[in-house]
């Protein structure tokens, strides 16, 4: 009994100290590992671990308030779900006619399927539910789609055929429309960036290029000549963006090292994407910036303490996008997929573009796939670089339409993304597996058109 009491006393003291020290000594340096061990009830998912010590980001009210928790989820993920034309919006489950289904699976709340701090029951995509959950509402699917007879319900979302939220590239009519596409398009191109015309329209840029004599940096700036020369060769100078446009404070004084806000004053969409993504989500909740040492993915040791900001990929003054598209990534990331880029078919296209042997926008860089050029939403359509890689990362079927299909046919794209070994070796070779949904959709369309295929034709179509 005495031992038990002492244990409780010791634990309570540690907890009290954890609360009291920051309260009375805000500058006290409490080891992060200790904070993590004391406050986190379990390991956080890959999507949230970076901000796991900013508890209030998700727990905005008391822990039992489901509505505030839901609001926190939607604040960060709502825009992406809307863009994805979410196949299972909350309104489906708040409809009283589905009350009996909700009793079995209460999908009105994100946390029903995505519990945090529960690593022992959490699978990929942060799913903390049995993976055959589709059964609860779609158990009769084989009556409508005989091709689905006998398929396991835990294969719906893991087989490359369906996703719970984002099915933009996976719905039946889309599959049929693109069923006969070849693996590679004739002259594949990534979309042309449209940043300059966007900046001109918004008044951030000018059609008059600036030169060495136009620089408005202070005359007594140390190493002025060197900095001005660097600037004069950049796209900023070419677009009429002068030194003081970035190096200026609230009272128009010279600022030696501009903050990210200076970049955001013109690159608002890029900064918003950065703040929502893996590189900027810590800074966005006022935690110290992300560094490779904090990453769960393998990173190069020599880069471990690099703080991720605009300038860590876009070197100040040079702002060389070609470098940001490959070298910047390779400087930190050291996972198998990244390491395999050198010598891959994608790298060969990039090398050819850089050497002039292939046309502009034909090369495939890291950024081509992970920070792709996509149309902006909610205004005049512009092709800008999306800086939130989460929108195109997991599940990787999210990449099919905005990324892969710029160069590849739908079937090849689906098969390649479903082949984990092929992804790991950076697409050296052909997909070794086939996602059957295109085949299913094509056969169904034949049957609906009255062209009932024989078994041989079905096999031919499959091949």
């Amino acid at each position: 009994m005495k031992t038990k009491s002492l244990t409780w006393l010791a634990l309570s003291s540690v907890l009290a100290a954890m609360f009291a020290i920051p309260m009375f000594f805000p500058e006290a340096d409490i080891p992060k590992a200790l904070e993590r061990d004391v406050f986190l009830p379990g390991e956080t998912t890959d999507g949230h671990y970076q901000i796991e010590l900013a508890c209030e980001t998700c727990h905005t009210q008391d822990f039992s308030d489901m509505t505030s928790m839901q609001t926190a989820c939607v604040d960060c993920h709502g825009a992406e779900l809307a863009l994805a034309n979410d196949s299972h919006p909350r309104s489906k489950f708040t409809d009283p006619r589905n009350a009996d289904r909700v009793e079995i699976l209460d999908a009105r709340w994100c946390v029903t399927c995505h519990q945090e701090h529960r690593p022992e029951i959490t699978a990929s995509m942060g799913l903390s539910l049995q993976t055959d959950y589709c059964y609860q509402c779609h158990q009769g699917i084989a009556e409508d789609r005989p091709t689905h007879e006998g398929l396991a319900f835990d294969s719906c979302a893991s087989g490359g055929c369906h996703n719970f939220h984002d099915n933009r590239a996976l719905y039946e009519d889309f599959l049929v429309e693109h069923a006969s596409e070849p693996p590679h398009h004739g002259s594949p191109r990534t979309p042309e960036r449209d940043l300059l015309s966007f900046a001109l329209e918004q008044g951030f840029a000018s059609e008059t290029a600036l030169g060495l004599n136009d620089a408005d940096a202070p005359p007594d700036l140390p190493e002025r000549e060197r900095w001005v020369e660097e600037w004069a060769s950049t796209s900023h100078a070419e677009a009429g963006v002068n030194c003081m446009d970035c190096h200026t404070g609230e009272e128009s004084q010279w600022v030696q090292e501009p903050a990210a806000a200076a970049c955001a004053s013109c690159h608002e969409l890029e900064e918003a994407g950065f703040a929502a993504g893996r590189h900027g989500m810590r800074s966005a909740v006022d935690l110290p910036p992300m560094t490779p040492s904090l990453a769960r993915l393998p990173m190069h040791a020599e880069a471990s303490e690099l703080e991720v900001s605009c300038n860590s990929c876009h070197a100040a003054h040079a702002y060389e996008t070609a470098e940001a598209a490959v070298e910047a990534c390779l400087g930190c990331h050291a996972d198998e997929h990244t390491e395999a880029y050198a010598g891959s078919p994608h790298e060969a296209t990039w090398t050819a573009e850089l050497s002039g042997a292939a046309p502009a926008n034909s090369g495939v860089t890291c950024a081509t796939c992970h920070l792709p050029r996509v149309p902006t939403d909610g205004g005049p359509t512009r092709i800008l670089v999306a800086h939130n890689q989460n929108d195109f990362l997991r599940p990787n079927e999210k990449m099919i339409r905005p990324v892969c299909m710029n160069c590849h046919g739908l079937g090849f794209s689906m098969d390649a993304l479903a082949d984990e070994a092929l992804v790991a070796n950076n697409f050296r070779g052909k997909p070794s597996r086939e996602v059957e949904s295109i085949h299913f959709a094509t056969v169904l369309r034949w049957e609906l058109d009255g062209r009932v295929p024989t078994q041989d034709q079905k096999e031919t179509e499959r091949q």
Partner: protein
């Protein structure tokens, strides 16, 4: 002394009685709320009017008659108008997000999307009733998820040639003999009534 007490007691009683009467006089009669059926009918009148205007004056006129733009199930993919049923469902989803105190949906005994098949007993009876009794509505009470609802079901009728051709020709339709004026399904309006059980 006794008389003074009697007088005080009498005055107290009188004051109490007057104040009680006064209170009674001040009490406003309980405001009569809108009957659920009246509310459902009114909501449906707006839904039906908007739906008919969109179907006839936008989709049928521009897509079928003047052929200046198409209407497509995949309107986000193409420069096309949303189909009337999609327009209706998008509105229902926005209302559901607002938690507006009622919900509505578009269901059918012959749905293109099987998720829009009637599920509750009231939906099954109601959709059959409005299909069998043209011009009549169906009203019922049902308890779903521990909440009692007043449920009203209204016939959804083919008001334009576009309704008929689109449903009859759709690859997933279970019925392909609809004609103009036929009941194709029903609008289900639900209003929560009473306390949550």
């Amino acid at each position: 002394m006794i008389t003074r007490y009697k007088l005080l007691a009498t005055l107290t009683c009188a004051a109490t009685a007057l104040s009680w009467l006064g209170c009674q006089g001040e009490t406003q009669p309980a405001k009569a709320g809108i009957e659920p059926q009246k509310m459902a009918d009114a909501l449906h009148a707006v839904m039906e009017a908007d739906r008919t205007v969109y179907t006839r004056n936008v989709v049928n006129r521009l897509a079928k008659e003047q052929k200046v733009i198409s209407a497509s199930e995949h309107w986000k993919e193409e420069p096309a108008l949303p189909l009337p049923a999609q327009m209706f469902r998008m509105g229902a989803e926005m209302v559901a997000d607002k938690d507006a105190g009622f919900t509505y949906s578009l269901l059918s005994l012959w749905p293109i999307n099987k998720q829009n098949t009637p599920r509750t007993d009231a939906e099954k009876s109601g959709l059959q009733f409005v299909a069998d009794n043209k011009g009549q509505n169906f009203y019922a009470e049902e308890t779903l998820g521990g909440q009692k609802y007043f449920t009203a079901i209204y016939a959804d009728t083919a008001v334009a040639p576009a309704c008929v051709s689109c449903h009859n020709d759709h690859k997933d339709t279970p019925r392909s003999d609809f004609a103009l004026g036929d009941v194709m399904g029903g609008v289900v309006v639900r209003i929560p009534v009473g306390e949550t059980l």
